[in-house]
């Protein structure tokens, strides 16, 4: 695949490592991160389900202060963002950096230690939110004793990724490496800014909201998104065994993504000078250009080869993710228009949109990557039954959740602006029921995935060590 790139080729490249050597070096850290991310995924989906039940019945578990709605809801979201998506994304990124650079992973101990501390940070953070120590800022709720741990844990993992990139033996770089490079550069930047200006030296008044908007926007668009895109740009050509349609188009899309994404995030209703929201609205539309280039590039790479897509489970996940990417970007652009936002801004619509981006797009592509990478690392295949079940249930689940919340949100928003506010409280109940069903399906899906993963690990260990665990 990389042979057909139009990039510069340096003379005197060192002898590349074989795929087996690369995988051997990645096995420990990548599987560790995958395992923990799947644990968090299951835990998070159970919490999300409880949250959904509480939307119907406020009385449910109401006497347990630790599980009150206002704590459970941000905890479930933080688990999805930090425990699952970020962690699985970093694991995929490390493996891609090593594979595409044809070099063993550099800084394996650093990645292992970083991975452990990342999970410690998430655990402390989630317990902190449940104990009532949330910062109160959307997407950056982890308290002051947890958030900095995540920053330093990332540095350890990020250094391993960056040094692996620097040690690459394949001299042509691929678009996936660029995307990971960008993500690994942006995350410490936004995380340090948020830590400094929301926790250490809090900015005054609405400036805090500006930073929280900016952080959440870039966490999605320049951290999770490039990690998922990197996986998609690798998996699609690799699995259908054809070169990427256009490296030039991918490069153009990359630079437009990096250039435009950072300006979004301020909703039109924000109590801020209106130029900020206006800039963000413009950015939301400009970002559509790199979205279109990426999706088009994938489509043209696949061409008429749809049979291969159907045959490959990882690719089916990636295709669902690609569709969700297109849809969520279009909805996000629409939602940034004042005329739409005045109805949808404070409703479940934005919750549905977040689910569509984080789970439907990023999560689905990461699932595809997990299904592709784990067998390579363990020389063991997934059990097809639970894998199919996971695919079916997670696609159905996220469909129910997104439809329930997005349609419910519009109904709720219309009622909010109607004559009687109290009507908006119950207006979306039937559709929330849809979403509750969806989150139940997701629990089953994630349980299937986790048990399948554990089964692979067992069989892999049995094959290596003759049935003994050590």
């Amino acid at each position: 695949m990389t042979a057909s790139t139009t990039q510069h080729v340096q003379a005197a490249c060192p002898i590349p490592a074989t795929a087996e050597e690369v995988d051997a070096s990645c096995r420990g850290p990548v599987l560790l991160l995958f395992f923990h991310s799947l644990l968090w995924l299951l835990a998070g989906s159970v919490l999300s389900w409880l949250v959904a039940i509480k939307m119907h019945k406020g009385d449910f578990l109401a006497d347990i202060q630790w599980l009150t709605y206002g704590r459970l809801n941000p905890a479930a979201r933080a688990i999805l963002l930090y425990g699952f998506a970020s962690q699985a994304g970093m694991a995929v990124a490390l493996w891609l950096m090593a594979r595409l650079g044809r070099t063993p992973l550099v800084g394996k101990p650093s990645a292992l230690v970083g991975g452990m501390f990342w999970n410690l940070g998430v655990l402390l953070g989630v317990l902190g939110i449940l104990a009532g120590d949330s910062t109160g800022h959307d997407w950056f709720e982890f308290p002051r004793y947890a958030a900095p741990i995540l920053f330093f844990a990332f540095l350890a993992i990020g250094c391993a990724g960056m040094f692996t990139f620097a040690a690459r033996r394949e001299c042509t770089t691929y678009i996936s490496q660029w995307l990971i490079f960008a993500a690994f550069l942006v995350f410490p930047w936004i995380d340090a800014t948020a830590n400094a200006l929301l926790i250490c030296h809090p900015a005054r008044g609405m400036m805090q909201a500006v930073i929280a908007y900016w952080f959440a926007n870039n966490f999605l668009l320049l951290w999770l998104t490039p990690l998922a895109l990197a996986a998609a740009f690798y998996l699609i050509p690799k699995i259908i065994n054809r070169p990427l349609y256009s490296h030039y188009l991918a490069a153009v899309g990359f630079w437009l993504l990096v250039l435009f994404s950072g300006w979004g995030g301020v909703p039109p209703g924000a109590r801020l000078p209106s130029w900020m929201a206006a800039v963000s609205t413009a950015a939301s539309f400009l970002v559509l250009v790199p979205v279109f280039t990426a999706v088009m590039n994938w489509r043209l790479t696949i061409g008429k080869d749809c049979a291969n897509v159907k045959a490959s489970l990882p690719l089916r996940f990636v295709m669902i993710g690609a569709g969700a990417y297109l849809l969520s970007s279009l909805l996000a652009a629409g939602n940034s228009l004042p005329i739409v936002s005045r109805t949808t801004e404070f409703t479940l619509f934005s919750v549905g949109l977040t689910q569509l981006s984080v789970y439907g797009f990023v999560g689905m592509i990461l699932f595809g990557a997990i299904y592709y990478i784990v067998p390579q690392l363990t020389n063991t295949d997934w059990k097809p039954g639970p894998a199919k079940m996971h695919f079916l249930l997670s696609v159905l689940g996220i469909l129910f959740i997104v439809i329930g919340f997005c349609v419910g949100g519009v109904i709720q928003g219309n009622a909010q602006n109607g004559p009687e506010f109290i009507k908006s409280v119950k207006a979306a109940t039937p559709l929330i029921g849809f979403a509750t069903l969806g989150s139940l399906l997701l629990i089953l899906a994630h349980a299937a995935l986790l048990s399948n993963f554990i089964s692979i690990m067992r069989r892999c260990c049995a094959a290596c060590c003759g049935g003994r665990t050590k």
Binding site: T68, R71, P202, G205, M207, E345
Partner: protein
């Protein structure tokens, strides 16, 4: 050529650009906003919270109330959720800012205006459906303790209406967290209009305002306010007040016109308080029109209500004291005869 360094520089500068635009620039514009005194108030806005309400804000954050309640009144939300839409200065006392992003329940930016009864809030926290039928808010019973009931209700227990069915033999007493939360909620109110958020329905202009009042207000700020202060209260012991001052409000304007023309030197008394200071003369700086305007202003601001001063009155006085160079003393002024009958 080193490809990674180009990649690094490209990403770095692209992102630095957006960082400058969406973090640095807002910080320069709104990050350094200061508390202001709105024109319809004499106190700094937003007002400081009591310690109890500050504690309540921590309870609000800790329980995650912002997961379901916004505190953002948008343009199309007024007047339902507040007398005016919210602006950035409204949040200057909030640490952290808890604006929320979901409006499952009502917006709370002005809940202190709508719901003033503390007992209502306590009943609502204990059992939301008891006061808001159809509410989906969870009960916060863990903010209360159940105590064995006495013959008469304790002072600190929540009063429920007789038809409300409590468990028998108990009374419900709020914990300090519940009381703090209610104090915070009662303090959530925006009543002042700001430059950024003016009154959408301003009161009709007062037709009784003298025509030269506005000019006088402008002049007062540049010439008089430094000593007599913007609020007209002066500085105790140094500069006498003008608000409510006997000299200013006297029906006969000949004395204050002369004070402004030539100045005044102490000792003198204002409202029974003595001062020993000197006011500078203004006759070479201000025209007759200007002196008339500024005197009209001080006679009709800060609750003062007295007749307008005209340029003719000032010029008549100026003609009489043309040759005088020294500042007046209080004794001399007492002997001055009225120049002309006051204008209507």
């Amino acid at each position: 050529m080193n490809y990674a360094s180009l990649l690094f520089l490209g990403i770095f500068f692209s992102f630095a650009l957006s960082w400058a635009g969406m973090v640095l620039l807002p910080q320069l514009q709104i990050g350094r906003q200061q508390l202001v005194v709105p024109h319809d108030s004499k106190q700094l806005y937003p007002p400081a919270r009591t310690g109890m309400a500050e504690h309540g804000r921590e309870v609000y954050r800790s329980l995650g109330c912002q997961a379901c309640h916004t505190q953002q009144v948008r343009e199309n939300d007024a007047p339902r959720w507040g007398v005016r839409h919210g602006v950035a200065p409204d949040y200057l006392r909030d640490q952290p800012v808890l604006i929320g992003s979901q409006r499952v329940g009502p917006d709370l930016a002005n809940v202190g205006l709508r719901l003033t009864d503390a007992n209502w809030h306590l009943m609502h926290l204990y059992d939301p459906q008891s006061v808001v039928p159809g509410s989906s808010m969870p009960p916060y019973r863990f903010l209360f303790e159940e105590r064995p009931a006495r013959l008469t209700k304790s002072d600190d227990a929540v009063s429920f209406p007789p038809e409300y069915k409590l468990p028998t033999g108990v009374e419900i007493v709020p914990k300090p967290e519940a009381l703090a939360l209610v104090a915070y909620l009662q303090g959530l109110r925006v009543t002042n209009y700001l430059y950024e958020a003016p009154n959408p329905n301003p009161p009709p202009p007062d037709t009784n305002v003298p025509p030269n009042f506005a000019r006088g207000q402008e002049l007062y700020g540049t010439t008089c306010g430094a000593c007599h202060q913007a609020n007209g209260e002066g500085l105790a012991g140094q500069f006498p007040p003008l608000a409510g001052a006997d000299w200013v409000l006297a029906e006969d304007t000949s004395k204050i016109i002369r004070i402004v023309l030539n100045g005044l030197t102490g000792p003198f008394e204002v409202n029974g308080v003595s001062y020993n200071n000197t006011m500078v003369p203004w006759k070479d700086v201000l025209s007759d029109d200007d002196i008339a305007a500024v005197l009209t202003y001080v006679r009709n601001e800060w609750g003062n209500k007295a007749s307008m001063v005209t340029a003719e009155q000032v010029s008549a006085a100026r003609a009489k004291v043309q040759d005088r160079a020294d500042a007046w003393t209080a004794e001399e002024l007492q002997k001055v005869e009225p120049d002309a009958p006051p204008a209507k």
